[in-house]
């Protein structure tokens, strides 16, 4: 387990030695800021709701961009061989990389904490949904990071890893918008596997164990899939 910490440290710091981290964070803040605040004053409500509604869509593009290099780069340069012949387990490697990606998402979200602070000066804020929103955002980020990690483990090409990751995450996000095509019987099932549906529940401030379970099980599935891919490469 201590080994996972070193892998985490290396991964997390390597995000910040290249400009990629700053570019991703800037783009994220710019896009969310623009979409959120362009309609914020029209609504005339001191709430973060629109911000959180945006997040699943933006995350499904940004998170795969964060995770795409985690395995693909190593496979491409060949450092994957070094990584696997060091005295570490698959578990150490996967957890180290996963936590690094989730921490990066946290670092990316951190500046947006100023939004609720300033909005609360404009009117009465309901802090429940804000808190729920941030907790939900981290859960959503974890699930997407695990899926992105899985996509990255499958290919040595970062672009392919990115596109695969986006496709999977975006599909999960928009699933519940497409339900009107489906017969009523299975709507419930597809709604349940849609990320957006669960995220909306949490970001309303409703803490339901089912939503937690949903994100945790997707994280687990992604990480377990990664382990299977790594085993298959041996």
């Amino acid at each position: 387990m201590r080994q996972a910490v070193y892998i985490f440290k290396r991964e997390f710091s390597s995000y910040f030695v290249s400009p990629i981290a700053y570019i991703v964070i800037s783009i994220f803040l710019l896009v969310t800021g623009w979409f959120f605040f362009s309609t914020f004053f029209v609504n005339n409500q001191a709430s973060m709701r629109n911000f959180f509604n945006l997040l699943p869509y933006i995350f499904s593009f940004v998170v795969p961009a964060i995770t795409m290099r985690l395995f693909s780069e190593e496979l491409n340069i060949g450092t994957y061989e070094i990584l696997l012949t060091m005295p570490v387990t698959f578990f150490d490697i996967i957890i180290g990389k996963f936590v690094a990606a989730v921490s990066f998402i946290g670092a990316m979200m951190a500046p947006t904490l100023s939004y609720p602070f300033f909005i609360s000066m404009l009117g009465d804020m309901d802090w429940g949904p804000v808190l729920g929103g941030y907790v939900g955002a981290m859960l959503l980020g974890s699930a997407f990071a695990a899926i992105g990690l899985f996509a990255s483990s499958m290919t040595r090409n970062q672009i392919i890893a990115f596109i695969t990751g986006v496709a999977l995450c975006f599909a999960l996000t928009i699933l519940d918008q497409l339900l009107f095509f489906l017969p009523g019987v299975i709507v419930g099932f597809f709604q349940y596997i849609s990320a957006d549906y669960h995220f909306r529940n949490i970001s309303k401030g409703v803490i339901d164990s089912r939503d937690f379970l949903y994100f945790l099980s997707f994280s687990f599935a992604g990480l377990y899939g990664t382990k299977l891919v790594m085993q298959g490469k041996r």
């Binding site: 080994q3 390597s14 061989e81 070094i82 012949t85 060091m86 005295p87």
Partner: protein
């Protein structure tokens, strides 16, 4: 130290390594030779636990690779082919990371890093990003990585490939230096390298071991056998064969090319002393004109070529 039995690896339907047995003893420097694609890298990757053998077993010391892969990884230092490294890290940070992952104690860490850096001659590049280093330095950083946690066994995959002659000599010296106390398995397709550094060579071709002998006995087997290349004018191959065949120290005569102007032949000799004088005497007896006369030793290169020729 390392014992592999019936080691086999298939890539889909392609058989890369075919039932090979290895037994490497403590303190040996073993050269792993073979043409490209013979299965050297695949074998090494299986020994390090990076690849899983299709069948067969690997034991390092008393550990089995399936049950105790973590313990084995701790005993091994591995330098993969072309030394892949994290380009964005500083050399010092990289070695520090390797030391941490290898569970080196905090108080011994910096001493060990500088010791290894000293041995590999990378002191002056410690604060440069790995990506900016030349090939030779990268190879040394890779070597430093392999040695960082003081492993008992080093597995080096083509440690000198792509280096200039000076760097090759330097890396070889480092390997010899380490080899005084460690067990080393190194792969190469350069014979002189194996000759210069190894106690024992294993030659592998198309996934099978075709020779496994210590350097001395391999050299012994070629001693006393040499080849003399001759070019003659006014002679035919039949004539030459008739003239030279009776000598009992000539074991073979071969015509090299069909050239009307001159006859090129290759005479294989087996004798404990120099037979050039005698051969020259035999040629002088005839009215042939001698154009070329050149002796070559039947070197390891030849053995290697014979053993690894496609059949």
């Amino acid at each position: 130290m390392i014992r592999a039995e019936n080691l086999t690896k298939y890539y889909d339907n392609l058989c890369a390594v075919d039932h090979i047995n290895l037994d490497i003893k403590k303190g040996e420097i073993v050269g792993f030779l073979g043409p490209n694609g013979a299965g050297k890298t695949t074998t090494m990757r299986m020994l390090t636990g990076f690849l899983e053998p299709t069948s067969g077993s690997i034991h390092v010391k008393e550990y089995d690779i399936e049950q105790n892969s973590l313990e084995i990884k701790r005993l091994l230092g591995y330098l993969p082919e072309s030394a892949p490294l994290y380009h964005e890290m500083l050399v010092y940070d990289y070695l520090n990371y390797v030391a941490d992952v290898g569970k080196l104690e905090r108080d011994k860490k910096s001493a060990r890093i500088s010791q290894v850096a000293d041995l590999c001659g990378i002191k002056e590049v410690m604060h440069k990003p790995v990506g900016e280093l030349s090939k030779g330095y990268k190879q040394r950083v890779g070597l430093a990585h392999a040695m960082m946690n003081d492993p008992e066994i080093l597995i080096l995959d083509e440690p000198t490939s792509g280096l200039d002659p000076n760097q090759i000599v330097e890396i070889r010296d480092i390997i010899k230096e380490i080899g005084k106390e460690k067990t080393i398995l190194l792969s190469t397709h350069i014979l002189s390298e194996a000759e210069a550094t190894c106690d024992r060579v294993i030659i592998i071709n198309q996934g099978k071991i075709v020779a496994d002998a210590d350097m001395e006995s391999l050299k012994q087997s070629v001693r006393g056998e040499y080849i003399i290349n001759i070019a003659l004018k006014n002679a035919s191959f039949e004539e030459a064969e008739r003239e030279l065949k009776p000598a009992d120290w000539i074991t073979g005569i071969k015509q090299m090319d069909e050239d009307k102007a001159m006859l090129r032949i290759r005479v294989t000799c087996r004798a404990s002393r120099d037979m050039r004088e005698e051969l020259y005497g035999m040629i002088k007896n005839r009215d042939w004109i001698l154009l070329e006369f050149h002796q070559e030793e039947r070197s390891l290169e030849k053995i290697f070529m014979e053993l690894t020729k496609e059949n």
